[in-house]
């Protein structure tokens, strides 16, 4: 038979059934009848008549009720006559009944048929091939067409129910498309609009846990899971972190070779050393004498054990109990920002000319106000006048005593040099200037007026002898007592204006800034103090750049420069800018430290002077020379 599509009509199904169940082929006639029956059944399906056939009745009785898909839909609820329930039926094997009906009456066992009866039955009954014995009921049940159909479908691995659609069209109730109508017409509940109290409580609980660190973030957890490592070799910092208040006990000195019971021979004291040690021991400096024992067993008890322990306890007890806090300040940031010396040029930095000729130390030097001549005087009892530009010694004056000071008259139209020698001051005209200037200078001294009137008890003014006059001497003043007095007068107001606190011990020299309000002081205790008169009576800045006493400090008259020279043979040049507006403090920048010459007898650079118009500096050195730096 050709295979045709399943589920088209009943006939086809039946034909196939025959193939599957070959033992029933004989009863094909019945089948055909049955087919007819079923056709009728189908026609009558809509009706409610159950008259036709008992089997059909059963079928329809069992098939009828709609299976409501709830927990009651269980086959165990199918109505059976026997009410024993789902128990093994062997339990009733020895009884003559098999159970009870609804009303409690026994249901008697059906009479058992012998094999012959069964055979006859099977031969007679055309439905015997579809008759099944229901042990629970104790009855034979003829399977209906529907049952067979189900069995057949199960055999073919199909869904038992014919009309079951395993792939129903899904209805997309919830889709991406916005529907006009809501799924539910119920009004939004109030809870949607009110903050949930319980949620809030729950969140607060989590928050508290997070705050207290009970809950950890993923990263923290990961961190926790990592094996913890301890840097055992640099644990000092960690310890500090862990316990800031921990003060480590003072450490014991580790034992050395001295303390060994069997020290090498070189550690054993000689006899003299031993005496010394014993002496120290009396003074409680040392506790033992190193000794050699040939075995540990022979080492005696430590005699001064208690003292030793007591010292240790003292150490522990007296160790400082405060933590000194170190202030972490970047040292660079403390240094004030100063301009680069290169930007502050010009200033003297290189040796240009050496004025050679003096045979002793140069004590004093002075540059004439025009910047043409340099006068120097020193320990060789001579004063020299030099041509600055060529380095030529133009004049030399010899005296009997050391020359202490030389100084030019600041007037540019005169040429007057004053020299202090011993207890004399000599004022002279060196005669190096032009005739016009020389004449003007000489005229001043030709005036007779000063000769008598300016006599003071301390000083005797006298005119030079003719010989001295020809040398250029104009006035000689002999002092008698001035070693003791220095008198300073305030010319205008005749009173003390200000007292400046320098904080230094011995002031060696002083100079006033050309503009007047600033003052520098050099002292023998190596310090240079800058005073700003407007600012305070204390030093605005103290500069310590010398290794030995400062001999002289000076300002440059034109350039913002000042300098200091000292016994360390150094000449330090500074930039000292004074601003006209009062808002700016003076700017002081160290520019150059010039090593003038080696020191002799502890005396280095004794004096220096700036050129009046050029950024040049003249300095004397320890080796009897005067040097010009440009």
């Amino acid at each position: 038979m050709p295979k045709r599509k399943l589920l088209k009509n009943e006939e086809q199904m039946d034909n196939e059934e025959i193939e599957i169940l070959p033992e029933i082929i004989e009863s094909s006639d019945d089948e055909e009848d049955h087919d007819n029956d079923t056709e009728n059944d189908l026609t009558e399906h809509g009706n409610t008549s159950f008259d036709e056939n008992d089997e059909n009745d059963w079928y329809y009785n069992h098939k009828r009720p709609d299976i409501i898909p709830d927990y009651n839909s269980d086959t165990s609820d199918e109505e059976t006559e026997n009410t024993v329930g789902n128990i093994p039926l062997e339990w009733y094997a020895d009884f003559d009944h098999i159970g009870y009906n609804v009303s409690g009456n026994k249901i008697l066992k059906p009479a058992s048929k012998d094999e012959l009866d069964k055979f006859v039955d099977s031969m007679d009954n055309p439905n015997s091939w579809k008759t099944v014995f229901n042990e629970l009921e104790g009855k034979n049940v003829v399977l209906s067409k529907g049952d067979l159909e189900i069995m057949r479908r199960i055999q073919r691995n199909e869904y038992p129910e014919k009309d079951f659609n395993p792939f129903p069209n899904s209805v997309e109730w919830f889709s991406s498309k916005l529907q006009i109508h809501p799924l539910s017409s119920a009004p939004e509940p109030k809870s949607r609009f009110t903050p949930s109290k319980w949620e809030a409580k729950k969140i607060m609980k989590i928050v508290r846990a997070i705050r207290n660190g009970w809950i950890k973030s993923v990263e923290e957890k990961k961190e926790m899971q990592k094996p913890k490592q301890y840097a055992i070799w640099d644990d000092v910092k960690d310890e500090e972190k862990l316990d800031k208040m921990h003060i480590p006990a003072p450490k014991l000195k580790l034992p050395g070779n001295n303390e060994s019971y069997n020290p090498p021979n070189e550690y054993l004291p000689t006899r003299e050393e031993e005496e010394q040690i014993l002496k120290d021991m009396e003074e409680d400096k040392l506790l033992f004498v190193p000794k050699k024992y040939d075995s540990l067993r022979r080492v005696p008890g430590f005699e001064r054990f208690i003292e030793d322990r007591f010292d240790r306890c003292l150490d522990l007890y007296l160790c400082p109990r405060t933590i000194k806090k170190k202030i972490n300040v970047d040292q660079e940031s403390l240094i004030p920002k100063l301009p680069d010396p290169k930007d502050l040029q010009p200033f003297p930095y290189t040796l240009s000319i050496i004025y050679k000729g003096h045979t002793g130390k140069v004590r004093s030097l002075s540059v004439d106000p025009n910047g043409h001549w340099l006068a120097t005087g020193g320990d060789d009892c001579s004063v020299r006048v030099w041509d600055i530009a060529t380095g030529r010694s133009m004049k030399e004056y010899k005296f009997e005593k050391n020359v202490v000071n030389v100084s030019w008259n600041p007037s540019k139209s005169l040429s007057v040099l004053s020299i202090s020698v011993g207890s004399q001051i000599i004022i002279l005209n060196p005669g190096v200037e032009t005739d016009i200037v020389n004449r003007a200078t000489n005229e001043i001294f030709n005036l007779e007026s000063f000769s008598e009137s300016k006599k003071l008890p301390e000083a005797i003014w006298r005119k030079p002898t003719e010989k001295e006059f020809n040398l250029g001497f104009r006035v000689i003043i002999d002092f008698k007592k001035t070693q003791r007095y220095v008198r300073v007068y305030d010319m205008m107001q005749q009173k003390l204006v200000k007292k400046l606190m320098s904080g230094v011990k011995l002031i060696s020299s002083m100079d006033i800034h050309p503009q007047g309000d600033n003052l520098i002081i050099g002292s023998f205790d190596k310090r240079l103090c800058w005073f700003d008169m407007d600012l305070s009576s204390k030093a605005y800045r103290t500069l310590r750049y010398h290794q030995a006493a400062i001999r002289e400090v000076k300002f440059h008259k034109k350039y913002p420069l000042f300098g200091s020279c000292g016994d360390d043979g150094k000449l330090n040049i500074f930039h000292g800018m004074v601003y006209n507006d009062l808002m700016h403090n003076p700017l002081i920048v160290p520019l150059k430290s010039i090593f003038v010459g080696k020191t002799e007898d502890g005396l280095g650079c004794l004096c220096f002077d700036f050129h009046p118009s050029q950024p040049w500096v003249f300095s004397s050195s320890g080796d009897c020379e005067v040097k010009l730096f440009t």
Partner: protein, 425 residues
Amino acid sequence: MTSSIATDPITSVQCIFVTKNLLYSSLIPTNPILIPTKLRRFGLSEIINHVLNLEKKIPFDFIINDNVLTTSLQTYLKKYEISNENVLTLEFVESLTEPKLEKAMKSNDWIKCIKANNEFIATGSFDHRTRIYNHSGDLLHNIEFESVVQSLCWLKDESGIASSVILNGNQSGIVECWKVKPDEMEKELVFFCQDAQGAIECLDVNFDGTLFASASFDSSIHIYSTDKDDNTLDSTLDQSKRRKTGKIVKKKIASGTLKGHHASVSSLNFSKDQHSNTLFSVGWDHTVREWDVNEESNKNTMNCENVILNISQSPKTGLLATGHTDNLVRLWDPRVKEGLVVKLKLKSHSGWSSCVSWVNAYNLVSGGYDGFLKVWDIRSTSPIYSIKTFDNDSDPKKIFGLDILDQRLYSGGEEGLLRTYFCTF
């Protein structure tokens, strides 16, 4: 041998030789010659001598792009990153030979200044004397003054050649004009000037010899006419103790005064231009000033950072060379009114460069407080020759004055020797 050639390949470059010297310019071929780059000045000079077929060998210097070749061609090409496929144009000039010391005449004291003309050499020294020699080295005259002779200047004749009239400026601010005669021992004070308030630092006479100027330490410049009778008074040099003759001498009054410098005027130089009466002066106020002498006005002021000690103007190019206390020699272009006026700084002296003098358009000589005379070619920044004027074991002796005349270089200073060098300028 082959391997050495392989490792050291001889590279060569094409060169064209040119010259401005008319003697050689017709002889030299104009087509490029292939020349090995390892050659230096000497090798190149040999080639030129060979090409020119000169009987007597003459050393040459080579100039590429206004730079004097001091290294080998290879290092030059490397330095300026020129490929040796280019054709180089080499200008060759007869090189200056190193100045040779001819004479060293002893003077009693330090020499402050030297001036030479066709007949005489005059030196002013610190012992207040001016000594006048002839060119064979004989001391002709010895004029004594009352202070250091700071500056000397020979006046010019009408004929423009040698004159026997010399100006002496001394430290007491007096300029004395003396007439000397070459044969006899006679000398005569023509006139004197006493306008300056400070020492006379420098004297110079203008191109046509009609004016002279004196620079003074008191920052003024005085202009005088050279005519001996012009603008004079009868006076006596009363200050002079040595000349008590009381002879009446003419005193010349300044025809003009140039004021503008703030500090000492250290040197001055009349423009070498025949038609302009321009004067350049330098001073301790760090300025170079250009003056119009006729109008007595300051035409231009150029500044630098340091004291200027000496100035010299190139007679051919008009460039100014100045010596400074920062040991440099600076070159200035006086035509530039704005921007960078200092064209070149020549750095080699280790002391103040006290005197400078131009030789020709490219060469100049400077003397310094370090005791060295340096010959420069402005096309290279290092000196061609450094001449030491003191012994090895002694301290440097300052040089104060130098002068150049007719292939002779005269110098003097602290050493007290008038040195005469022969050179091929």
